[in-house]
């Protein structure tokens, strides 16, 4: 049998999706599964999306422009103008989700063996996207005790080598929920200018900022016209994950030209999703206010219920809809699987994403999980109750197992 490629062999399974078979089995046993593992909001996709889809007036669902329909690109540019950035439709290229945007960006900026510095914990699939092009993710560790704030410039500089080509941040943070303050962005600007690096910012959670925190885009940093690249998406912003519509935003026209060649090779982004997306970008800004209010209330509930569980640590969370949570267990890979395989409470269990998959440094995150607060408050309340009971039952099971093995507890 022919060998598969090395990159395919070492590609880590997604921590967000690898437990899916166990969740499927739990459902087949009749157990309800609260999905806190994946950033799939339960918020309804706005009606205007469905109207655009249902009223589609085409005979042929044809390829679109490789960079995306001009109407959608103009709509996205206008959205950026409204939030204060001088972006033209030529600075926007529509992609198949932010996933493809990142693949294009990494493919256009990193050679095989090149390095990209990413604060960890990070969105696990960054590893997969870098792995596909044989580039190396160099993690910059941030700590739950610091609410995952970035360290100082010195910490970055210690990681920069002649192979370093870019820094990639996620802001607001998946999985951390952090929103970087202006001084952090300015620190990053100084570093990338000094070392002539790209600064790639995943801003798909831009509208999810709570407690008066204001999200700032790298597009607003002066002097970074050629360095700043934003990856964006309608998935979270408009609760339209399945439409698979994202975008690359950059003023660097050389880079955009290279990315357009990649985009042409794959012909075009999804046609129907683009129709819906164009309608979504016509929504008034007040739409985001109502959604942010709902997520903010969920976050309040989540933090309150998590902190009521003995042994659980959860840092400050000001944005996105995730929290990295420390649990009183040794190995969340095992615990999350056990929750699906062996536990239920009131006929239900909770699915979370084990933390280790969000770190590149071996050994980190083993007692953490990523929780996505994408369920309504009632479900979230019940999921937290279930998690609390699960932790107690798991600790009891482990203790009994250790007794049985004659080990001291």
């Amino acid at each position: 049998m022919p060998q598969i490629s090395h990159r395919a062999e070492i590609l880590p399974a997604s921590p967000i999706r690898k437990l899916v078979p166990y969740a499927d089995a739990a459902r087949q046993r009749g157990t309800h599964v609260y999905h806190l593992n994946i950033g799939q909001p339960d918020i309804e996709t706005p009606q205007t999306f469905w109207d655009a889809i249902r009223n589609v007036d085409m005979k042929v669902v044809a390829y679109s422009h490789s960079a995306g329909n001009l109407g959608l690109r103009k709509g996205i540019a206008k959205y950026y103008n409204r939030i204060g950035h001088d972006i033209a439709s030529d600075d926007v290229l529509v992609t198949t989700g932010a996933s493809e945007a990142l693949q294009f960006i990494l493919g256009a900026t990193l050679n095989p063996g090149d390095e990209i510095i990413v604060p960890e914990p990070f969105y696990a699939n960054y590893l997969g996207f870098a792995g596909l092009i044989d580039a190396k993710v160099v993690p910059l560790t941030t700590r739950i005790e610091d609410s995952f704030a970035l360290p100082d410039a010195e910490a970055f500089k210690q990681l920069i080598t002649p192979r370093t080509r870019a820094i990639l941040i996620c802001n607001p943070g998946n999985p951390t929920g952090i929103i970087y303050p202006q001084e952090t962005l300015e620190l990053l600007r100084d570093i990338v200018l000094e070392h002539d690096l790209f600064l790639i910012s995943d801003e798909v959670y831009r509208e999810f900022a709570y407690d008066g925190y204001v999200h700032r885009s790298v597009l607003g940093l002066e002097g970074l016209e050629d360095h700043a690249i934003v990856t964006d998406s309608i998935s979270k912003r408009f609760s339209a994950c399945g439409a698979r519509i994202g975008a690359v935003i950059t003023r660097n026209q050389t880079l955009m030209g290279a990315i357009l060649k990649m985009a042409q090779a794959r012909l075009s982004p999804p046609g129907l999703g683009q129709l819906g997306a164009e309608a979504l970008y016509q929504l008034p800004p007040t739409y985001f206010d109502s959604i942010a209010a709902e997520y903010s209330a969920r976050r309040d509930l989540l933090l309150e219920r998590l902190r009521a569980i003995p042994g659980v640590t959860v840092p400050r969370v000001n944005g996105a809809f995730y929290a990295m949570v420390q649990l009183p267990v040794d190995d969340t890979d095992e615990f999350c699987r056990w929750m699906l395989e062996s536990f239920s409470y009131k006929g239900a269990t909770v699915m979370m994403a084990p933390g280790a998959g969000f770190y590149a440094t071996p050994g980190l995150g083993k007692n953490e999980v990523r929780v996505a607060y994408v369920l309504n408050q009632q479900d979230l309340y019940e999921a937290m109750e279930c998690l609390g009971e699960g932790i107690i039952a798991y600790q009891k099971m482990k203790s009994l197992a250790q007794h049985a093995a004659g080990q001291p507890t």
Copy 2:
């Protein structure tokens, strides 16, 4: 300014799309453009697709399974069963068009620097997909005089090195229109078994076979269970290019496991397109008969009209909806651009894909173009009339230019 990656720099622009700005400019001047450059059929997407889209009953357009909705995978497996292949839904992974299928397959089989043998002329974007993962396309030249038939095993063996990992064919052929006979497939089987290579077959044009030619899939070759990989798509089969729904089909579960990890990293294929695709796979086989009859008639018209133009050579074409055509000009890159920039006949011009972009060997294909017969017969007739006039005008222009420069004609 930071450097873009080497692979992005050397990535060739798509020969199918690189002339788009000139076509846009022609349209702005009021010139109608007959698009024979791109495999975008004018055949209507079947009503069942639109019904599925218009009757969508969802509140949230959510991520699907990373391998695609089970209903669609079952529908695709059933289609393969019907055409005689023992394929289960687990052997099918739904992708964002055949483009993504090929990216997954190449990414899972080729390391950087590995080689893949591809008969040329080939679908130009294979170069782009291989380039993205820094693998090397090794062309095996086939000739228009032979109607692009594959040479014997010796020709393959001369190209095989320790870095060779796979052979990639397109059958029915884009851009050649060839359908490989059973003995060619068996020759390929023997080669890949002897050298333990993957045999990747792009079969998106499977249903487009004329004159009693029968398409045979590599899935039907015994002994290739671990070697054969098919890339498929609804784009051409159902005239649904913009839906961006393709698939990987393989019985090699190790390979499929690796591809699933890649698929999980990008979350899911387009949701709305999958809905439409599931409906399309319910269509009866008679659907394909009516479509093939239409393309066959177009092909007849195309070949007749092309052969009536002095100096034009066009080989036998039995499948797909393309022909590689030799024109009486020196450089089709220049000629195709001139047709868009400087020529019109009865208010219209013709856009074709210059041939050189379909070859990896420098210098080949310079007097060829790929023509996609995706327009109705009336348009096709007019496009051929326009092309004939264009060739005469171009030759006259070139002759005058040479006279003016004092060169002998």
